[in-house]
C-alpha cells in the first residue's frame, strides 16, 4: 500500500492536533476562569478541533489527482550535503557563545564552503575570513553592536 504525500501530511497533522489538544487541556487557569467565556485555553482547544477536522477531511476525501508516494519525494536528493550544513548550523549555535563571533563564524563559513565542494583553500579562506571580519567590523565598530568575545577567551584572560 502506498501513501500519497498529501495524505501522509494530513496524518501527521491529525496526530499533531490530538497532541496539541491534549496539551491545551493542561494550560493553567485562574480561579473562576471556568465561568469566563474566553480563557487562555479557548483558542488552543478550538484550533486543535479545527486542525483535527480539516486533517481528517483531507485524509478521507478522494484526491483530485494522483500525487507522488510520500517516500518517493525524499529519494534522489542531495541529503548528504544538506545534513552537513544542518549539522554546521547546530555547531554554530553551540559554539557562538564559547568561541565568540569571529572564530565560530569563520569556522562555520569554512566548513560550509568546504562541505559544498570547494577544495581550494585559498578560495575557502579568502571568501570566509574577510566576510567574517568585515561583518564583525560593521556590527561592532560601525553600528556599535557589542559582540562579546568567546567565553573561552574570557576564561583564559581571567587565568
Amino acid at each position: 500500500m502506498t501513501l500519497s504525500k498529501e495524505k501522509a501530511g494530513a496524518l501527521c497533522f491529525l496526530v499533531l492536533a490530538i497532541a496539541y489538544g491534549m496539551e491545551a487541556r493542561h494550560i493553567p487557569l485562574f480561579p473562576g476562569d471556568e465561568l469566563e467565556p474566553f480563557t487562555a485555553r479557548t483558542m488552543p482547544i478550538a484550533l486543535s478541533w479545527l486542525t483535527g477536522i480539516v486533517s481528517f477531511l483531507l485524509l478521507v476525501l478522494p484526491q483530485r489527482e494522483e500525487t507522488d508516494d510520500i517516500f518517493s519525494v525524499f529519494r534522489g536528493l542531495n541529503w548528504g550535503k544538506t545534513f552537513v550544513l544542518i549539522a554546521l548550523m547546530v555547531f554554530y549555535g553551540l559554539t557562538l557563545s564559547p568561541l565568540g563571533f569571529l572564530l565560530s563564524t569563520a569556522l562555520f563559513l569554512i566548513g560550509g564552503i568546504y562541505a559544498l565542494g570547494e577544495r581550494r583553500w585559498s578560495v575557502i579562506l579568502l571568501s570566509s575570513v574577510p566576510a567574517t571580519v568585515g561583518f564583525w567590523f560593521i556590527l561592532d565598530k560601525l553600528l556599535g553592536i557589542y559582540l562579546a568575545p568567546g567565553e573561552i577567551f574570557t576564561m583564559l584572560g581571567a587565568n
Binding site: 485562574f30 484526491q63 542531495n78 541529503w79 548550523m89 554554530y92 562555520f108 559544498l116
Partner: protein
C-alpha cells in the same frame, strides 16, 4: 490628504530615505535574482538591519527591497528561465523564449518599462484607495477585525491553487497554533512552553520568517541543485543584446499595460491573492484579448505575453499594501513579514496609522513610486553587471546566506537557543516544501494569530460571551458572509469539475 502627501514626500525624499530606496532596490534585485530566494527572504534578511532605523526609513527600505526582488525575479526568469519569485513565473513563459532568440536586452527593457508603468498606475490608485478605506475602517470594532482576519486567512487558503484548499487551511491552522506558544498576552499564563524559559516569549516572527523562507530556500538549492544552462552562462557574461524598444512596440503594448495595471491592483488588494495570481490572470486575459495570429506567439516570445504579467505583478505589489496599511491585515506572505516588522518598530498598522503616523503611511506610498523610478533609471542599465553576480558560485553564496539568516535572528535576541529553533523550523519547512504544503499561509496564520485571539476575546467580552457578535453588526455579518462565499467557492468548483469529468467519461464511453 494633500498635507499628508507633502509630508510623505518630504520624508521619502530626504537624502537618507532616498539612499534607502536605492539600497533596497539594489539589494532586492540581487536577492530576487538568485533562484530560490524570493521577496519574503529578501525582506526578512533586511529586518535585523532596519531595527535601529526609524519606522518610515525601515519601511522605505523594505518597500524598495520588495520591488527590487520582484524585478530581480523577472530578470532571472527572463535570462535563465529560473524565476526567483512565484510572481514572475508567468514572465518566464515569453521572456525566456525572447532571451533564447537573442532579445534578452529587449525583454528586460520591456519587463522594466511594464513594471514601472504597472507600479506607477497602482501607486496612483493606492494614493486614493488607501485613505478612503482607512477612513471607513475607523469605525471598525473588535468583532469586525476578527471577521476580517478570518476572511484574510480563508482567502489565502482559497487562492492557494486547485485542490490545495484544505492543505492551505491546515498550514494556516498550523501557523495559528505556533502563535499560541509562549505567554498568553492578556492572562499572562504560559502555554506550550514545556517549562523552557526560552519559550516564554514565544517564537519570534522574524525567526519563523527567516527559517521558513531564507534558510529553507538556501538549503533547498543544495538539496535539489539545478543545472546551469548555456543561456545562463551567456547571461552572466553580460551578453544581453539591444535594449531598445521601437515606437510601434510601445504603441502595441500601451493598452496591455493599462488593462493589466488595473487588474493587478485590484487582485493585489484582495487578501490572499497577490502578485502570482495577478500575473497569471493578466497573462490569460491578454491571450484571450489577442488576435488569432498574436495568440500563436504566446509562449514563444510574445511581447504582450511578457508585458502583461510584469505589469500586473508590480501593480499587485502596490495593491497588497492597501489592506496592510489601512486595516493592519496583510494580504500575502510578503506583506505579513512587513506587518511583523512594523509591529517590531512599535508601529501598529491599521486605520489609526493614517491619522496618528501620517509620515509613515504616506512616505511608504511615495517611496514606492520613487522605487519604481530608481528601478527604471538605475537598475535597468546596471542589469548586465548585476547579472554577473549570478555567476557567483553557489558553494560560497549558500553558506553566506545561511550565516546572514542565522546571525540576523541572533542579533535581535542574543540567544543561541533561537539558532537551534531555526534549524528545527528549517527542517520542517524543507519537508513541507517537498510534500508541497504551502508556507505562506502558515506565516500569515502565525502573524495574525495573536491579533485574532485578542479581537475574539474582546468581542466575546463585549457581547457577554454570546456568539451573537458575529451577526449583530452589519459590517461583521457582511464580512463573514463573504468569508462563507470564499470558503464555499473551491468546494463548488470541485463539484463542477467532478461533474464535468464524469460527463466527459460518459461521452468517451458512448463514443
Amino acid at each position: 490628504m494633500l498635507d499628508g502627501i507633502l509630508q510623505g514626500l518630504s520624508t521619502a525624499a530626504s537624502p537618507v530615505n532616498l539612499l534607502m530606496v536605492f539600497v533596497g532596490c539594489f539589494a532586492g534585485t540581487f536577492i530576487g535574482m538568485l533562484p530560490g530566494l524570493g521577496p519574503i527572504s529578501a525582506i526578512a534578511l533586511m529586518i535585523p538591519i532596519t531595527y535601529g532605523f526609524d519606522p518610515a526609513t525601515g519601511m522605505i527600505l523594505m518597500a524598495g527591497v520588495y520591488y527590487g526582488a520582484i524585478f530581480g525575479g523577472s530578470t532571472s526568469a527572463i535570462l535563465i528561465n529560473a524565476p526567483g519569485v512565484a510572481g514572475t513565473v508567468a514572465t518566464a513563459f515569453d521572456g525566456y523564449p525572447l532571451a533564447k532568440q537573442g532579445h534578452a536586452g529587449k525583454a528586460l527593457a520591456i519587463a522594466a518599462y511594464s513594471s514601472f508603468s504597472g507600479g506607477t498606475i497602482a501607486a496612483i490608485f493606492l494614493l486614493f484607495a488607501a485613505p478612503a478605506l482607512a477612513s471607513v475602517s475607523l469605525s471598525f470594532q473588535s468583532a469586525d477585525y476578527f471577521a476580517l482576519m478570518v476572511l484574510g486567512l480563508t482567502a489565502v487558503s482559497a487562492f492557494a491553487g486547485k485542490g490545495k484548499f484544505l492543505v492551505a487551511v491546515l498550514m494556516t491552522l498550523f501557523g495559528l497554533m505556533l502563535s499560541t506558544i509562549g505567554t498568553d498576552q492578556t492572562a499572562g499564563l504560559q502555554r506550550f512552553t514545556f517549562g523552557s524559559l526560552d519559550l516564554i516569549d514565544g517564537i519570534s516572527f522574524l525567526l519563523l520568517a527567516m527559517a521558513t523562507f531564507a534558510l529553507s530556500e538556501a538549503l533547498m538549492v543544495v538539496l535539489k541543485p539545478e543545472k546551469v544552462s548555456q543561456e545562463a552562462e551567456d547571461a552572466t557574461k553580460g551578453k544581453l543584446g539591444s535594449m531598445k524598444v521601437s515606437r510601434e512596440e510601445v504603441k502595441d503594448l500601451a493598452p496591455v499595460v493599462g488593462r493589466s495595471s488595473v487588474l493587478g491592483f485590484f487582485i493585489g488588494v484582495l487578501p490572499g491573492a497577490g502578485a502570482t495570481i495577478a500575473s497569471f490572470l493578466a497573462y490569460g486575459m491578454e491571450r484571450s484579448f489577442a488576435s488569432a495570429k498574436e495568440k500563436l506567439k504566446f509562449g514563444k516570445g510574445s511581447l504582450r505575453g511578457l508585458a502583461a504579467p510584469e505589469t500586473a505583478n508590480n501593480a499587485a505589489c502596490s495593491g497588497s499594501f492597501v489592506p496592510l496599511l489601512t486595516l493592519g491585515i496583510p494580504g500575502s506572505g510578503t506583506t505579513a513579514v512587513m506587518l511583523g516588522a512594523l509591529i517590531s518598530y512599535g508601529v501598529q498598522p491599521g486605520p489609526r496609522l493614517f491619522v496618528e503616523q501620517p509620515a509613515v503611511f504616506w512616505s511608504v506610498i511615495i517611496s514606492m513610486y520613487i522605487g519604481n523610478i530608481i528601478l527604471l533609471v538605475l537598475n535597468l542599465p546596471l542589469i548586465p553587471y548585476i547579472a554577473r553576480l549570478l555567476a557567483l558560485p553557489k558553494k560560497i553564496l549558500t553558506p553566506l546566506i545561511l550565516f546572514f539568516s542565522l546571525i540576523g535572528v541572533y542579533l535581535v535576541s542574543f540567544n543561541t537557543f533561537d539558532i537551534h529553533i531555526m534549524v528545527i523550523v528549517a527542517i520542517l519547512a524543507i519537508i513541507f516544501r517537498l510534500i508541497n504544503f504551502p508556507l505562506a499561509p502558515m506565516l500569515l496564520g502565525f502573524i495574525l494569530g495573536g491579533m485574532m485571539e485578542d479581537n475574539l476575546r474582546r468581542a466575546l467580552a463585549i457581547s457577554d460571551g454570546e456568539l451573537s457578535f458575529l451577526w449583530e453588526r452589519p459590517i461583521t455579518a457582511s464580512i463573514l458572509a463573504i468569508t462563507v462565499i470564499v470558503l464555499l467557492a473551491p468546494l463548488i468548483q470541485n463539484i463542477i469539475d467532478v461533474r464535468r469529468r464524469r460527463a466527459l467519461k460518459v461521452n468517451d464511453g458512448e463514443g
